[in-house]
């Protein structure tokens, strides 16, 4: 049982889960100010293409490419965030969906740069590059008792795990800060928030840019994990998929989209044994969910209930804080 866990197959699935969790977080951030943005697939594409092109054409290290892709996506987030401030609800969704399509069409038509619909292949692979670099320093995975490909996927998995945990931690902390409270106030009532002195423009654009930044980051990781991208990967299907993470898991707390991404990525893999019916079941589960729990699976009540059910942890928490006093 334990021996199977180092199987590259499980690590591969786990890597996609982690990337999807990051995407889920990206839509959660914009949703936490009450803005429904469907541009995340577009931002993801910007991140992926920027990083892939930089590493392919200029031989930059992957980490530089990923950072550049992330930042560029963030800049686009600000550029799109400002003019769309006045829009709300469905109108914002339409505009952002349009933006995503514009990005995709640019990738399709800018053939000299992006090779059009054929896509970019041969993008440096995060794990393999890492292995090669380490080998130059005289490191061999065999020291750890691992085969090359086991090491590659373990490395990717651990990197992504670290990144995902830091992102979730960051946004959980932000939620409990002044910024998080401002987001919550804007979500509940914009006018009231404004009259309380909250700078709505600043916080809404901030949320939008953060969402774009995180989505661009996920896109850059996606490019270097898959080593091949094409414009079709960032079409509106992707935008809807990301949205479903939040809709399914719930968008009130950060654990909602995280759980949604986890569950909806694992589901098709678990259902592999019934191959052609698996997407039917996938669809059925979503329909049942929407009928039974329209607010998403995980909300504040569920979290509180879970906390109540585990009194031990609360006690421990209490005693430890007493000690530290």
């Amino acid at each position: 049982m334990l021996a199977e866990l180092i199987n590259p197959y499980y690590l591969q699935v786990a890597s996609f889960i982690l990337i999807n969790i990051i995407l889920g977080v990206s839509i959660y951030i914009t949703l936490s100010t009450g803005q429904l943005s469907l541009a995340n697939a577009g931002f993801m594409g910007i991140g992926a293409y920027t990083s892939a092109l930089l590493t392919l054409n200029f031989d930059l290290p992957i980490i530089v490419g990923i950072l550049a892709g992330t930042l560029l996506a963030g800049v686009f987030g600000i550029l799109i965030g400002i003019p769309t401030l006045r829009l709300q609800g469905v109108y914002l969704a339409i505009v952002t969906l349009g933006f995503g399509e514009v990005i995709r069409v640019i990738f399709v038509n800018w053939e000299s740069m992006t090779k059009g619909a054929v896509g970019l292949s041969g993008i440096p692979h995060m794990g393999r590059e890492l292995l090669n670099t380490l080998k130059d320093f005289g490191f061999d995975p065999k020291i750890l008792g691992l085969q090359n490909n086991q090491f590659v996927f373990l490395a990717i998995f651990l990197i992504l795990l670290g990144v995902t945990i830091s992102i979730i931690t960051f946004f959980r902390r932000q939620n409990r800060s002044r910024v998080g409270r401002a987001f919550a106030a804007i979500k509940l009532d914009e006018k009231a928030a404004e009259s309380m002195g909250i700078n709505i423009t600043y916080y809404k654009v901030l949320a939008f840019a953060q969402g774009a930044l995180v989505a661009g980051f996920a896109g850059a990781l996606f490019a270097h994990v898959l080593a091949y991208i094409s414009p079709a990967d960032f079409a509106y299907h992707r935008a809807v998929e990301i949205l479903i993470f939040a809709v399914f898991g719930g968008s009130e707390v950060i654990w909602g989209p995280v759980f949604g991404a986890l569950f909806l990525t694992v589901m098709p893999e678990v259902l592999r044994f019934i191959s052609e019916y698996r997407y039917m079941i996938y669809g059925l589960i979503i329909i049942i969910m929407m009928a039974v729990r329209p607010q998403g699976l995980i909300d504040v009540n569920i979290l509180n209930w879970v906390k109540l059910k585990t009194p031990k942890r609360r006690q421990k928490h209490g005693t430890s804080s007493q000690k530290s006093i």
Partner: protein, 384 residues
């Protein structure tokens, strides 16, 4: 804070435990698939196919073709093949996880598939690194076998098909001026267009105009009006059959009666169903012609029809031949070993299947003569 630190320490301890305990087990697992007992070479062959989603018809034809071949091959008793079929849903990430599962959990000797070239671009390098022979049966884009030594295909690439059909069309209609029309947002039609343009330039044809359209477009009058005004001798159209059929229909209604030359995606009986008489004059090159006067072909068609209730298309035929090629290589290799199978595959020459005589070149790409077909009076006929 302390609690979090403790949690983190627990987590790292647990994960490092997993890593350590996992190292031992998997190395032994890799050696198991080399077994061959009692004469017949036993092998697990993984299949990655597009079974669910909008392109499920491809996956269905491919798996049907494979199952039919498997039955026949196992019946002969020289090679015993067990197929492990996984779905990719036409998505790269799904294809990759399916491939990982086949290579690492199922320990297959070789993989057939995936269905789309985009999927192969992702799966191919991984299989090559792991030393698992992989053969595409429907991947026609450029550069697929060039991914690595372990990557093969038996599907007729556009680079062979399109020049063959253009050649024949030039010969017959004495064409000098052509117009090109293609879908620019699809990998398949885009790479078909690249091949078309290259072929047209090489053959010294004058390209009057290059027009584009998008997937799902329904009105092509703007592009066709322009083409009509330029009076080409031939229209090269890189389109999938659903858009392609509509284009032909609108072109004929507008009075454009020159022949069309299509890519592999245009090659479907559906064109005739959708466009009716307007489909007459479409020229395509195909590896598969079901009406061929050949015993093997006739036998395959009748068996397939009996089993699945419809006529086999090129995807079924290519998959059927692919498994036979695999079986041949397995027999020559003598054992279900990935490296031995790769070497045996690379040596396949002059294999005689339902698609005709087939060989791999040194890169693992296809060497064969395509059949050029034309639609006349609502049916595909050999074009001479």
């Amino acid at each position: 804070m302390r609690k979090q630190l403790k949690k983190f320490a627990q987590f790292t301890a647990l994960s490092s435990l997993l890593v350590l305990s996992a190292c031992g087990g998997n190395q032994a697992a890799g050696d198991e698939d080399g077994e061959s007992s009692g004469g017949a070479v036993k092998a697990d062959i993984g299949v990655i196919s597009y079974i669910s989603g909008p392109g499920a018809a491809y996956g269905e034809a491919i798996t049907n073709g494979l199952k039919l071949a498997q039955e026949e091959i196992n019946g002969k008793g020289e090679v015993e093949i067990n197929l492990v079929i996984e779905d990719s849903a036409g998505k790269q990430d799904q294809a990759l996880t399916a491939a990982q599962k086949l290579m690492n959990s199922e320990n297959v000797t070789a993989i057939i598939g995936p269905t789309l070239s985009t999927e192969m671009n992702v799966v191919g390098p991984e299989a090559d690194l792991n030393g698992v022979p992989i053969m595409g049966t429907s991947t026609t884009a450029e550069g697929i076998p060039q991914i690595g030594d372990y990557v093969f295909r038996n599907s007729l690439p556009e680079a062979l098909a399109i020049p063959a059909s253009i050649d024949k069309a030039i010969e017959k209609y004495d064409a000098k001026k052509v117009a090109i029309l293609y879908g620019n947002d699809d990998v398949f039609t885009k790479s078909g267009f690249d091949t078309m343009k290259k072929a047209a330039e090489e053959k010294g044809l004058e390209i009057l105009t290059i027009e584009t359209f998008q997937k799902g477009q329904s009105d092509y009058n703007a592009q066709l009006t322009k083409i009509k005004g330029l009076k080409p001798d031939l229209i090269l159209a890189s389109a999938l059959y659903n858009e392609g059929a509509v284009i032909m229909d609108q072109a004929r209604k507008m009075g454009i009666d020159v022949p069309f030359v299509g890519g592999n995606g245009f090659n479907s009986p559906e064109v005739i169903n959708i466009a009716g008489d307007a489909a007459n004059g479409l020229i395509v090159a195909t590896p598969w012609y079901g009406e061929k006067e050949d015993d093997k072909v006739k036998e395959f068609v009748s068996k397939y029809e009996k089993e699945y209730g419809k006529k086999p298309d090129q995807f079924a035929a290519q998959a059927y031949d692919a498994l036979y090629i695999m079986a041949e290589a397995l027999k020559n290799a003598g054992e279900a070993d990935r490296d031995a199978l790769r070497d045996a595959l690379a040596e396949v020459k002059g294999f005689n299947g339902i698609l005709g005589e087939f060989s791999f070149d040194e890169e693992g790409d296809v060497v064969m003569d395509p059949t050029v077909l034309v639609i006349e009076n609502g049916a595909f006929k050999e074009f001479n």
